[in-house]
């Protein structure tokens, strides 16, 4: 009886798993076969890399990859800098108005940047940042979520270490840099993974703010490439899709454990 329920469990779990990755597997299959073989699901048709070749030459992918890479880097640097300073102020300093400002920051957790697209677009244009990578990245830099995360992490640092560094003659910023930042390394790693995968995949805001291949990230490039008016077929779209998700997907498969743990750490604290 016990082994029977175990069998049912395994069967259900694996069946769901197969259903869950089926779209990826089909895309892989479509991308590696000619279009007519792919849509007719001919199982023993020959493999080909032509679709990747056609897809690659159909759009400036290298530029798109570079733009996405620059975008996530710029956002991450900005976030590390801003959230470290603000998180430290909230965690370890006492000053009037702190609680009030902290509540304002928490409010931003619910005012999603996605919802404010109209006014943020006006603001970015006003600042002369329209169609620039900085313009895409700026609204995400002062992340309330990141500030909250860093504050929690810094609060866990023993006050003795702070005092010891101060007695050694370390200034406040020195203490932050030499004591708090090194101890928060796991939090930085977790935050980095979450931030990179979020912004690698972001679409709506970059769609609005970018207007040329010079700044367009992968997601926007992919949507333009696959638009029906371009008339590309399903095999080529699949190839382009797989190309654009490959870096993150491969990174995920290699660092699976860290990935999952980062999402957890970021979500629960």
């Amino acid at each position: 009886m016990k082994s029977f329920t175990k069998f049912i469990d395994s069967f259900g779990a694996i069946l769901l798993a197969v259903i869950w990755i089926a779209p990826l597997l089909f895309a892989f299959w479509a991308a590696t076969h000619s279009t007519s073989d792919a849509v007719n699901l001919k199982l023993f048709s020959p493999w080909t890399l032509d679709n990747f070749r056609v897809a690659w030459s159909g759009a400036p992918w290298l530029k798109y990859f570079f733009n996405t890479f620059m975008l996530v880097t710029v956002i991450l640097i900005g976030q590390f800098f801003l959230t470290t300073l603000a998180g430290f102020a909230f965690a370890q300093l006492r000053f009037p108005g702190k609680d009030f400002v902290f509540i304002l920051v928490l409010m931003q957790l619910f005012i999603l940047p996605e919802v404010l697209i109209v006014e943020n677009y006006a603001m970015v244009s006003r600042l002369g940042l329209f169609d620039s990578i900085l313009g895409v990245g700026m609204p995400y830099m002062a992340s309330a979520f990141g500030i909250f995360l860093m504050r929690q992490s810094f609060k866990g640092v023993p006050i003795e270490l702070h005092e010891a560094a101060r007695i050694e003659g370390c200034g406040l910023l020195g203490i932050l840099w030499r004591v708090y930042v090194p101890l928060a390394k796991p939090t930085y790693l977790a935050y980095a993974l979450v931030s990179v995968s979020t912004h690698w995949n972001n679409f709506l805001w970059p769609l609005i703010v970018t207007n040329s291949p010079e700044t367009r990230p992968l997601t926007v490039g992919l949507s333009i490439f696959g638009a029906p008016e371009n008339g590309v077929d399903i095999s080529i779209i699949s190839a382009a899709t797989l190309m654009s998700v490959a870096p993150l997907l491969i990174a995920f498969l290699i660092f699976q454990r860290q990935f999952v743990q980062s999402f957890l750490r970021a979500g629960i604290k």
């Binding site: 694996i14 869950w20 000053f95 006014e119 972001n202 699976q256």
Partner: protein, 297 residues
Amino acid sequence: MSAHANLERRRQAIYGWLLLSPAAVLLTVFAFYPSIATLWSSLFSRHTRRNPSEFVGTENYADLFADPTFWLVVKNNLFYAGITIPVSIFIALSMALWANSKISARGFVRTAYFTPTVLPMIAAANLWLFFYTPGLGVLDQIGSLFGLPSVNWLGQPQTALWAIIIVTIWKEAGFFMIFYLAALQTIPVDLKEAADIEGTSRWTYTRRIVLPLLMPTTLFIAVNAMINSVKLIDHLFILTKGGPSDASKLILYYIWEMAFAFFDAPHAAAITVLVIAVLGVVAAVQFLYLDRRTHYQ
């Protein structure tokens, strides 16, 4: 002594505000000011070449409430939330219970469940396009094996929103599973042992012990799923563009379309204000709930 304490206090205040200022400036520029500006511009008429924009009070809101499309979009989004939230929570829970039990191929199962989480919504939509395309798509191919007629899943009002919903569930269930998985691992083993000694069935154990202990996680996930039901709309751009005849249009897509396709910023602002108000209520509920949880600890 008191002079020294005073100096220290002043030093902390100066440092505190200095450290906060970069984040405060950006938050003001990209969150607080735009929120207020949205509210403000929702009270003005649209600026055209002939008519400069003028104060119209709540007229934009009245327009929206009188517009059947607005209500259709609200209804769509409520339906979208009403299906995606419970279904993805249920699937996430099943996934976590499986991924946490001693089954074969557990590593593969966990990876498979979580994989959609790292894909962009745009890529997910492209993958599903291959399923939904009439005639050529995988669903139709499977259907034709059983002699079913070809269905244009994305092209007819009855099925378009469902097609969108399925992609969303596929995308977020694996993400929510992770939180359940973490919570399951904190349940002490003795509870399971005690239940086994008592001869409790697995169903009773799950229903009476596991589910109540997972309640805080479920609430956390529910809030996230609620926010996602506003946020996750990227696949509309690929799959349906809100159509056919607005049958699959969701609020954020509607805002985008209003502002960037029809250039009607005031009405877009009015919808944005309504969305922020709803999110504010969700926030308030969550803060109250978080408060309660800290009391328990």
